[in-house]
């Protein structure tokens, strides 16, 4: 693995994380929130494989990445299912409008 490829992956991870967190802070739509979470997870998957390669234990990195993909797909499914229910009860997916519990 040469220097610039390593850098590209690192930049990629950082970029995905940045987009994900920025999105989470800004977005008002519940589906977009779930999407941003997925972007973050992709960054993490990349990071795990990267870490595995860099430390010499690529097998471990890949297996953890695969497990994460599965686990977080489940999270995404649950999140979207909840979002569907929210749409049914609240009539909207607008985050500020579903914030009734305060204080």
């Amino acid at each position: 693995m040469n220097f610039s490829a390593l850098n590209i992956i690192l930049i990629g991870i950082a970029g995905l994380l940045g987009v994900g967190f920025y999105g989470l802070l800004i977005t008002r739509n519940l589906i977009k929130v779930v999407m941003m979470l997925q972007i973050l997870i992709k960054a993490v998957v990349l990071a795990l494989v990267f870490a595995g390669k860099v430390s010499g234990n690529l097998g471990l990195g890949q297996s953890t990445a695969a497990t994460v993909i599965v686990a977080d797909t489940i999270v995404a499914v649950v999140g979207l299912a909840l979002a569907v229910q929210v749409r049914r009860r609240f009539g909207t997916l607008d985050v500020p409008q579903i914030s009734t519990l305060k204080g």
Binding site: A51, L60, T67, L82, Q85, T100
Partner: protein, 506 residues
Amino acid sequence: MTLLTFIGMIVIPLVSSPLVYLSGRLGTHETTLHRRSYLVRGLALLAILLAWIPFVLSVQIFLAGGIQEFNIEAIWLRVDGISLLAAAMVLTLGTLVILFSGPYMAGEVGEEKYYAMLLAMIGLMIGLACAGDLFNLWVWFEGMAISSYLLVAFYREQAASLEAGMKYLVQSAIGSVMVLMGVALVLANAGTLDLIQIREAMSGSEVNRLALLGAGALFVIGFGVKVAIVPLHTWLPDAHSQAPSGISAMLSGVVIEVGLIAMLRALSVLPGFSFSWGILFMAFGVLNILYGNLLALRQTVVKRMLAYSSLSHIGYILLGLGVALYSDMELGAQGAFFHLFNHMLMKGLAFLSVGALIYGLFLQNDSHASLKINDLAGTAQKYPMVALALSISVLALGGLPPLAGFMSKWQIFVAGFQTQNIWIIALMIFMALNSVLSLAYYAPLVNMMYRKTPSAQVLAGKSLSFAITLPLLMMMLVVIVLGFMPQLMDWITVPAAQTLMTMFGN
């Protein structure tokens, strides 16, 4: 092989989870909802009672000095003092909640899913406590989180419930992501994820301090969302107050605590920082204690008040752990772990008592209203046992003798004062004063319940079944007994404290 018995306490709940779900879907439309409910409840109870057998055997093996490990290739499960403490807590509260939920959840839509998820969550939590490597830890953690999302949002007809579940999911997922980033950092630097081997791999001098600090911060914040450290706690008041009462008890009583254990496991692999973790824990402890107490003062919904009070109790535990890590004082860890166990009992008892009242006052009258402080008026007239249970739990939480909470807080105080460090002593006094402050919101509940004129809700309330009051009775007795004989829990808190000190020791 006897050394593998501990697998049983993880596997039995996990395997019975889908079985319980299926049994609930069995039968045609002719099979009454009623009968199916009893089948599901019965199976769930049976499953959890079976899981006690491997637990008891494990404890015996552990106390006799046997090592219990299990591995598939590089994935390890190990039993140590902390695992047993967590398993004890989860099984105790889990059994009582399953028993309690029998009448509470009877006839609800999706009842079999409730028990299935609850059993899964129990199995996953015990698995977490036995996890032997970092990634394994994360997987169990994520599993526990997912099952808890579904349980929090159980009442999908209630908008507030969904809202709480959604916010909990998003925030918890962010936490998980951060944990994974930390795992990646550790992997990049150590080449392995096994909790024991990482230490060896990183003891060399070429360790990248920046990366490890980053990993540490990510672990603290990532797991911290689950542990409800202020300012990451914002999901907690909503989730704990909107979930069904049995789940509120589980969340406040074990889920947060097991999250804390996961955090401790993850942090222990990062070498040479126990000093700073100690300071960090103490700082967050202070924040949690103060914030939790102040906000609980202003609540009118009882479950929300109890949720905020959980924040301050986590603060007490963090303070105890912080003192232990900073000053190498095992007694602090022992006190913290004892408080961990006691909080499970006391907060569990509190939530279940409130749940009993919600059951009698609202659920039986087909209402999903939340219990307000004013609704508590005159409860003792109609539900003396529940009023007594709630009073005892709340006074115990306030740290009054002769109840359990006093004894565990005392141990933390002793540890803090023994450090002879003036700042830590000041923190201990701060903690004691906050404990007094908490009485300002706990005591009015007791006064309200023993009024002579019942509220309208109490007058309209229906009777409670035995399955609801039995867990309350049992927990009350234990809280009182531990208040007089705290040494009864030494067999589990001392090994846990020792494990912690070795985990973090250099």
